[in-house]
């Protein structure tokens, strides 16, 4: 089967699966799944840019997605003027001091050498730390106690939330630049551990810096980029439309809202996909694959391996950040407690590996398919468990326990899928096209 046929057939099967859900479960559910499939597909594209193009093993996806979520809050929520008045200056000073400290450390490092340099760096950092705390602590206290039940944070800029998708990408890119500068020189295992750590730190920041994100109190009621159901149900044109379609306006309004999200998300996916494909098939893309497949040879040819790696790490993370902002927009709230590495990092990895690393079409398909399975594994697991434990009788404690346990079929299923694909079809569902067959094994064999 040619590559193109394969893509058409597999995408057709995916569409059929979604149709089945629409017909047999409900269209509302189908479109909800599609929305998250679209977001997952974008995240998977981001990971594919890092892993598939360049062989960078980033296990910190969750952190970049969370930064996107932060962007959604910072861009869209109205500013809390009172909080700015009591604490804005202090936060501003603390930020200036942070910049000052970084500059001072840089200056010190340039003008000292050897052992002095080491101790001078540490001393400057410690002094800087206390200066920052001096401004930061009172400001944070003031902000967090300002109307703590309703706000207690600085709020945002009050701009349309759709801008946050770009800002989310920028936040993630900035974080990726910083991390990449520190960690990209490391070998694959170390980079994995380092990025895992970074993502945990980002989540810890979102949970604890209440002046910025309200922490575990969550920011809810983010403005929407699309219409509200209540507004639709009173609009004449909408009532006419639903009457014309013969649909119940209440049900149809939810469907309409979700459909609008789906269209927005699909537009973003198409743009990113187009850019990613262009990049992959350009001289730049060929260079990236050359670096991935034989780093030393590429370096000998005069390619700036470190610089390219940093570039591709930033690009991929930015795409994940965009998707993260979109996800928070769809949820309508930022819940720092919901970020968990299984769902936001490793699941995305399963998508890329299953779909086919190095192939954007594969990554998108993986995003759709794996999200679909992730969602459907729960009802199917519950049903299966119910059927299997039927003979135990309704009063059985074991049966009740097993029914409770059904949701954890999900990680089990994902693990099994990942291992099966890694072992029996390491190229994934839609293998990378082009000259050298880049199995994951071959790709990395060069690195060791």
């Amino acid at each position: 089967m040619s590559q193109r046929m394969r893509i058409v057939v597999l995408y057709g099967i995916m569409a059929a699966l979604l149709l089945v859900v629409g017909v047999f479960q409900s269209w509302n559910l189908a479109i909800t799944i599609i929305n998250l499939c679209l977001i997952s597909a974008i995240m998977a594209l981001g990971v594919n840019i890092q892993w598939g193009y360049a062989g960078i093993f980033n296990v910190g996806i969750m952190g970049f997605a969370a930064l996107g979520g932060l962007a959604a809050v910072v861009v869209s929520m109205p500013p809390v003027m009172g909080a700015w008045e009591v604490g804005g200056a202090g936060i501003g000073m603390a930020f200036l001091m942070l910049v000052g400290t970084v500059a001072a450390v840089y200056f010190v490092r340039r003008h000292t050498t050897g052992n002095t340099r080491f101790w001078a760096t540490i001393a400057t950092s410690i002094v800087g730390y206390f200066v920052i705390r001096y401004f930061y602590d009172p400001a944070v206290d003031a902000i967090e106690s300002f109307d703590a039940a309703r706000t207690g944070y600085l709020g945002g800029l009050g701009l349309p939330i759709i801008f946050s998708w770009i800002v989310g990408g920028v936040f993630a890119a900035a974080a990726a630049w910083l991390i990449g500068k520190i960690a990209l020189g490391l070998r694959a295992d170390y980079l994995a551990i380092a990025t895992l750590g970074i993502s945990e730190i980002i989540i810890a920041i979102l949970k604890n810096e209440e002046w910025l994100t309200r922490g575990v109190k969550n920011v809810s009621g983010l403005p929407r980029p699309v219409a509200y159901e209540s507004g639709l149900q009173q609009a004449d044109w909408f009532l006419n439309l639903s009457a014309w379609l013969g649909a119940n306006p209440v049900i149809f309004s939810t469907l309409y809202v979700r459909l609008s999200y789906a269209i927005l998300f699909a537009i973003v996916l198409i743009i990113i996909m187009w850019l990613a494909e262009r990049a992959l098939n350009s001289p730049w893309g060929r260079m990236m694959r050359a670096i991935r497949d034989n780093r030393d040879a590429a370096e000998a040819m005069g390619k700036d391996v470190k610089g390219r790696h940093l570039q591709v790490f930033i690009l991929g993370s930015a795409v994940v950040g965009v998707a993260g902002a979109m996800l928070t927009t769809l949820d309508g709230q930022l819940t720092p407690g919901q970020y968990n590495p299984l769902r936001f990092t490793f699941l995305i990895w399963v998508m890329v590996i299953v779909g086919g690393s190095g192939n954007n079409w594969g990554a998108v398909l993986g995003g759709f398919l794996i999200w679909f399975l992730w969602v459907e594994a729960e009802p199917v697991g519950a049903w299966l468990m119910n059927q299997l434990t039927m003979p135990l009788g309704p009063g059985s404690g074991l049966r009740a326990h097993l029914l409770d346990a059904a949701p954890y079929m999900r990680p089990l299923l994902m693990g099994v899928i990942l291992l099966l694909v890694l072992r029996f079809a390491p190229k994934g569902l839609i293998p990378e096209s082009g000259g050298s067959p880049p199995t994951a094994a071959k790709k990395a064999a060069v690195e060791t």
């Binding site: 380092a194 730190i201 810890a204 490793f346 990895w349 990942l418 994951a440």
Partner: protein, 334 residues
């Protein structure tokens, strides 16, 4: 003088003892990671969930023993159940190796592929543990809780501050000391231990001199699973058991292994204590400590809030990788 003693006792109670216990737990975990890395040459992401699995089996057996009315006197019943937990973890590890890791080892796949496979294994362990025992907190410590309570210590010394010596802390330190000594004796003296070190140093030479690789790998998994279970049970006795927390322990454990020098058992132990003490010392609020020296600080005098303890492991990790990538004890660079 009393003030000074009070400050010391305060420090010992809230920083030193918790640090020692946590350090010992991390050290046991890091030993497993470092051995697997030395022999099998990959960073095992499933280690945290392996700890959770072994601990889970131990907890289940503990509950069963408790329901039978069997106890261990003043010691926690979990220590009686521990051998069965270890056996469970060993069986799981050997089964996993046979079904998954061996394939890549024989094929000599790239490290990164094996690391990914370990991520898949992590998912599976994760699901199994949550299906059997659920995702919630489980406390299973019984027996005496304190060796010396705060009140007893105060009455004994006449100081204002009390030093509570909790039994799980003592057990942790004693068990860890025994296990680490036994492990070092095994690695240094026994034939198998020597074979393992030879294999870790140079695989090809070891094979040439007739060392059986399957045996070395099996023994490595047996030791790693035992250490993981012991570390997990001790951590659970000291704090509590929650599957997600065990997954998160992965980061400080990796940090400990890398700080000490990966593939170096002695380094893993040192690294465990370095990471543990950095975490405890940087997140402790020193306010009362300073008050005994006549200062009246405004704030809590806490350098970092407790939630940022991951950041500490991470910073240690990055500093070591930047300054001395081989770790303190000249381990291997990944």
């Amino acid at each position: 003088m009393t003030d000074f003693l009070n400050a010391i006792v305060l420090f010992a109670n809230f920083v030193f003892l918790p640090g020692v216990a946590y350090g010992a737990q991390l050290a046991l975990g890091a030993l497993g990671v470092t051995l697997v890395f030395g022999i099998l040459r990959f960073a095992n992401f499933a280690h945290g969930d392996l700890m959770a699995f072994g601990t889970m089996i131990t907890i289940l057996v503990t509950w069963w023993l408790q329901s039978m009315g069997i106890g261990f006197g003043p010691l926690p019943t979990a220590l009686l159940a521990l051998p069965i937990g270890i056996l469970g973890a060993i069986a799981l590890s050997l089964g996993t190796d046979r079904m998954i890791f061996r394939f890549y080892r024989v094929k000599r796949s790239a490290t990164i592929v094996i690391v990914m496979a370990s991520v898949g294994v992590m998912f599976i362990y994760n699901g199994i543990v949550r299906m059997i025992i659920g995702p919630n907190d489980q406390r299973f410590a019984d027996g005496e809780r304190f060796l010396i309570t705060v009140r007893e210590f105060r009455d004994l010394t006449g100081l204002d501050e009390g030093l509570a010596v909790r039994l799980p802390v003592v057990i942790t330190v004693v068990v860890a000391a025994i296990v680490v000594t036994a492990l070092f004796l095994f690695l240094q003296r026994s034939r198998t231990g020597k074979a393992m070190r030879a294999y870790s140093d140079n695989e090809d030479l070891a094979l040439l001199s007739g060392i059986n690789p399957d045996r070395v790998v099996a023994v490595t998994w047996i030791i790693a699973a035992s250490l993981a279970t012991i570390a997990g049970v001790l951590y659970g006795l000291d704090k509590s058991f929650r599957p997600f927390v065990y997954f998160q322990l992965l980061l400080p454990i990796f940090a400990a292994a890398i700080v000490g020098g990966i593939g170096q058992p002695i380094g893993a132990v040192a690294g465990g204590f370095i990471v543990a003490f950095s975490e405890v010392m940087l997140t402790y609020a020193y306010r009362r400590f300073f008050e005994y020296f006549g200062f009246e600080p405004d704030g809590l005098m806490q350098l970092l809030s407790t939630e940022y303890k991951f950041a500490i492991s991470f910073v240690i990790l990055v500093l070591v990788l930047l300054i001395r990538p081989t770790g303190i004890f000249k381990g291997r660079v990944l």
